[in-house]
């Protein structure tokens, strides 16, 4: 009797498991997918509805936002390639020196672009001589007074012997914007291969 009962229970359990795999598992997964899609659509609907409610306010912000964006792009322009910008930078420094009536020679050197997480930078150095006031104005024009963001790292001013002039040596960085691109995850199989090597 007990044996029969145990056999019946085992048969019922086996049938239940087989039925789950044959009839229930696949539609259950479909139901879960449909539920996830529903949550996603609801989230999108709520976000877009909030946008629509505030559409007039958003529209009103567009001109101001465009101006702000344009100003930010002038201060921190987009990076346009490793080879770009060196001559522009030199021309701009020489034009600033000319504007402040600093006479040649103007020594200029620039290194290549390097990058950090959110920006590219190009170190450059300038050496120029002239009247103290004009040199100071030139330094201001090249660093904090520049329309584009420049980071002045160091500046040194020394009198020129025998003349009423000073020599300015400066080290600074030209900066460009970098879109943040998160590091692409390395495929696991490549990592394994790398370790094996």
């Amino acid at each position: 009797m007990l044996k029969l009962l145990v056999q019946a229970v085992i048969a019922a359990a086996a049938t239940a498991i087989a039925s789950y795999f044959l009839f229930i598992r696949e539609p259950l997964e479909s139901l879960e997918q449909a539920g996830e899609a529903h949550v996603r659509l609801q989230r999108e609907y709520r976000a877009l509805y909030a946008y629509r409610v505030n559409l007039d306010a958003f529209r009103a912000q567009i001109p101001a936002m465009k101006d702000l964006g344009k100003a930010a792009q002038t201060i921190l322009p987009d990076f346009d390639g490793l080879g770009a910008g060196r001559q522009d930078l030199e021309d701009w420094v020489r034009a600033a020196a000319k504007e402040k009536q600093l006479k040649p020679p103007i020594e200029f050197s620039a290194a290549d672009w390097s990058s950090k997480e959110f920006y590219y930078y190009r170190p450059f150095t300038v050496r120029v001589s002239g009247e103290f006031t004009r040199v100071t104005e030139f330094l201001q024009l090249v660093s904090t007074g520049s329309p584009q963001l420049r980071v002045l790292k160091s500046a040194s001013v020394r009198p020129v012997e025998g003349r009423d002039e000073v020599t300015l040596s400066l080290e600074a960085l030209a900066i460009r914007h970098r879109d943040y691109e998160p590091a692409v995850a390395e495929p696991i199989k490549n990592r394994r291969r790398g370790r094996a090597q």
Binding site: S19, R59, M65, A72, L139, Q140, S143, A155
Partner: protein
Amino acid sequence: MVATLFAAGIVRQFIDHRIDAQQAENTALESALAPLRRETGEVDALVKMLRDFLERNQVIKVLAEESSPAAEALAELSRLPGDIVLTDVQADGLQIVVEGIARSDAAAKRMVEQLGTMKFIAHPRIASTQAAPAGDPFGSQAQVFKVQAELRH
């Protein structure tokens, strides 16, 4: 076994029914979303613009703080009185070292007091001072000094 199969059939029917209902709701949501997406398309451009602006602005703020305000500090140093002659000024990041000759020890001290009131120069201190070499145009009281200070925005 038959009962189990029957129960599985009922569960299957219930799930199918739920799937149909869910898909019908999703279709209704999709149709409600279509005009919303059209209407709010222009907001996406604004949001992108705003994100770009905030990113750039953050970088600008952080880097501008790192930039040495040496030009502004030099402009302030140019206002020192005539009994001070500067022979070397070195700004490195937010540190500045000024070397020069003062007409007297008292003139050097007055200069440090004046530096302390400046906008872009903070915490000036005399690092060293010694008598100027004989024959200095400022006379026998002249002092060669070295002042260290910090720069601020």
